[in-house]
């Protein structure tokens, strides 16, 4: 049904989108900040990493710079919101469209190829016991695991708790002496730093950075987040983060199966529609369930 290479391909893309889902978890869930910057910060990470790698930088350093670039983009969105009082959604849309031009400037052209460059993956190809198509999966799993542990520890730290308080109830948080504006700026920056990291890794594994590669990242990240939460109840930070990764991998496996399910008449063309339907259902269904339970319990009472 699913070939080994297609399966590893789904895992690899799923792991990368797991990082995107971490970022979206931070902005949407922790900070309650609907942030569309990611459609721009994903290709931004790719662009920065690609340009630096081509000019001879160490690919890990280049990837690190991509994270910083993503953080800067997130900070711009948050500052537009916090300091200039622009509605959060609009602020993120502004940064997103600006990033399209910025990314073109950074790359100098719409597409930068990395096919013949040394990337973070290159040294791993020589490892005896790993097949070509397994390399990126193993490496990205390590990156995701490290990010997960760091994020988890951060969320349990004092700053992390302050950030969660900011998202949960900003007024109360301010009353407790938390600088909520700073928390939002730092949180959205961190979120987009993770997305920039995902973009940088994605460009290196697919062989090119392209200005159009950010299209739909937000929707797929959300689908991963919501899908993961449906499978693993996010009752703790650790569980929520694991749900992000699992959700992203499930989404990718679903696509891999859809690509193979010629029998069902499903094709790649239908995927955007299916994604939209799934996200809508995942958002609406819990509400419907609560409504039904409420009505039921009211009748009982």
């Amino acid at each position: 049904m699913l070939s080994e290479i297609a399966f590893y391909g789904a895992l690899e893309t799923g792991l990368i989108y797991g990082l995107v889902a971490f970022g979206i978890y931070l902005s949407f869930r922790v900070l309650d900040f609907p942030d569309l910057t990611v459609d721009g910060s994903f290709p931004l990470g790719a662009a920065v990493a690609a340009v630096l790698i081509i000019s001879g930088w160490n690919p890990w350093l280049a990837t690190g710079m991509a994270v910083l670039a993503g953080m800067a983009a997130g900070a711009v969105t948050a500052i537009l919101n916090v300091k200039l009082n622009i509605l959060n959604l609009l602020a993120s849309i502004l940064t997103m469209i600006a990033l399209y031009s910025v990314n073109l400037r950074i790359m100098g052209r719409p597409n930068l190829a990395l096919l013949t460059e040394d990337t973070v993956l290159t040294p791993w190809y020589d490892i005896e016991f790993l097949e070509f198509h397994q390399v990126s999966v193993v490496l990205f799993a390590i990156v995701v695991a490290i990010s997960l542990i760091l994020l988890w520890r951060f969320m349990k730290s004092e700053t992390g708790l302050a950030m969660r308080a900011t998202g949960a109830n900003a007024r109360m948080a301010r009353a407790q002496g938390i600088a909520t504006g700073g928390m939002i700026i730092f949180g959205v920056a961190l979120s987009n730093g993770l997305v920039g990291l995902a973009g940088a890794l994605f460009a290196q594994s697919q062989g090119a950075a392209d200005v159009t590669m950010g299209v739909g990242v937000i929707v797929i990240g959300l689908a991963s987040l919501i899908g993961g939460e449906a499978v693993i109840t996010p009752s703790s930070v650790m569980r929520a983060l694991i749900a992000c990764v699992i959700g992203a991998i499930i989404y990718r496996l679903a696509i891999a199966f859809a690509l193979n399910a010629d029998v069902l008449g499903l094709q790649a063309q239908d995927l955007n529609l299916i994604t939209a339907v799934l996200v809508t259902l995942a958002i609406v269904l819990p509400g419907v369930r609560t409504n039904l339970t409420n009505r039921f319990s009211r009748k009982k009472a």
Binding site: A6, Y17, P110, M213, G216, I255, L259, A268
Partner: protein
């Protein structure tokens, strides 16, 4: 140890599967396309028709797979992995992003790209002449030399060639640099007018009046969207306007030597057929469009102060007479 056995087993079963396919004499061709778009769809259709013409019929002796990523690069990556995993005889990749994702995933499977402007810059091949690995294809690079030939055939005395382009469009800038170099080689001068938006095209075209003997437009998206503005300047100031694509001729350009993407696909299909019949990608040079169609618009010529000669009109595949 166990892993090695597993791999051998897997390899053996794959081999068995491959020989099974061989026995049935079914060839497998997989086509991946970054997005649906009239030009790219035409290329896809061309590949299919060319295969059919050479006796490779989908469902009979050929299994043809086709997927579009709908402009989503993560899905393009997964399509590439899916195709590589099924080890078809040839993977056809339409447009640069698709070709790059396949190139990143395929180590040995032969890959033929289509609608890629500069495969060397896209790092798909080492050189145009000798790709050197498992990838080759057909480029949709403009045949600049032939366009200059046409220009000189119609206007032998033109020395200063004007153009309007968008400095923010990477492909356009690359074409302009190439054009400038090729014109200089023939002792001609390129006069440039820059327009970053369609609304600036008229002003940029006007800036060429008095400085250019003819105007030549590349396939710059911004400028072609506002081609009428350039045509109106050409008509008012008697500067003949030439285009790189045939569609602009009906919109008032004097002449264009262009190609259509269906034929581009047919040429791609022809390369696929050669590979199916045993050719090696590494030694197959990247091809550019051989078959070009001349479109002329004598009425537009009259309005721009020139009369197209009978033999140019005779060579045209299509004679358009737009009236104002």
């Amino acid at each position: 140890m166990a892993k090695k056995t597993l791999r051998t087993l897997l390899g053996a079963s794959l081999l068995a599967a491959a020989s099974l396919v061989q026995a049935e004499d079914t060839r497998v061709v997989a086509i991946t396309q970054i997005v649906e778009h009239p030009a790219l769809d035409a290329a896809h259709q061309g590949v299919k028709d060319e295969l059919a013409e050479h006796g490779y019929i989908d469902g009979e002796n050929l299994r043809l797979m086709h997927e579009s990523a709908q402009g989503n690069s993560a899905i393009a990556t997964q399509i590439a992995r899916k195709f590589v995993g099924e080890s078809p005889d040839v993977i056809v990749a339409i447009a640069t992003p698709s070709a790059q994702t396949v190139a990143a995933a395929a180590r040995k499977t032969p890959v033929v790209f289509s609608a890629v402007t500069d495969p060397v810059a896209a790092k798909l091949v080492k050189s145009w002449e000798a790709p050197g690995a498992n990838i080759t294809g057909v480029s949709d690079m403009l045949p600049i030399e032939k366009h200059i030939d046409l220009l000189q055939r119609v206007l032998p005395d033109a020395k200063r060639i004007g153009t309007v382009y968008n400095p923010g469009e990477a492909n356009a800038v690359a074409l302009i640099e190439l054009l400038e170099e090729r014109l200089a080689a023939r002792g001609l001068e390129l006069v440039k007018g820059a327009a970053t938006k369609t609304s600036e095209v008229l002003g940029a075209a006007r800036s060429l009046v008095g400085k250019a003997d003819a105007i030549y437009l590349t396939t710059d998206n911004t400028v072609i969207s506002a081609a009428e503005a350039v045509v109106s300047v050409g008509e008012r100031s008697d500067i003949p306007v030439f285009a790189a694509d045939t569609a602009t001729v009906a919109r008032g350009a004097v002449a264009a030597l262009g190609f259509d993407y269906y034929k581009h696909g047919r040429q791609t299909g022809a390369m696929v057929v050669r590979i199916l019949e045993g050719a090696e990608t590494a030694t197959m040079p990247v091809e550019t469009m051989e078959e070009l169609d001349l479109f002329v618009n004598p009425a537009a010529g009259e309005r721009m102060g020139i009369t197209l000669s009978e033999d140019v009109i005779k060579d045209a595949k299509e004679v358009v007479n737009s009236d104002k």
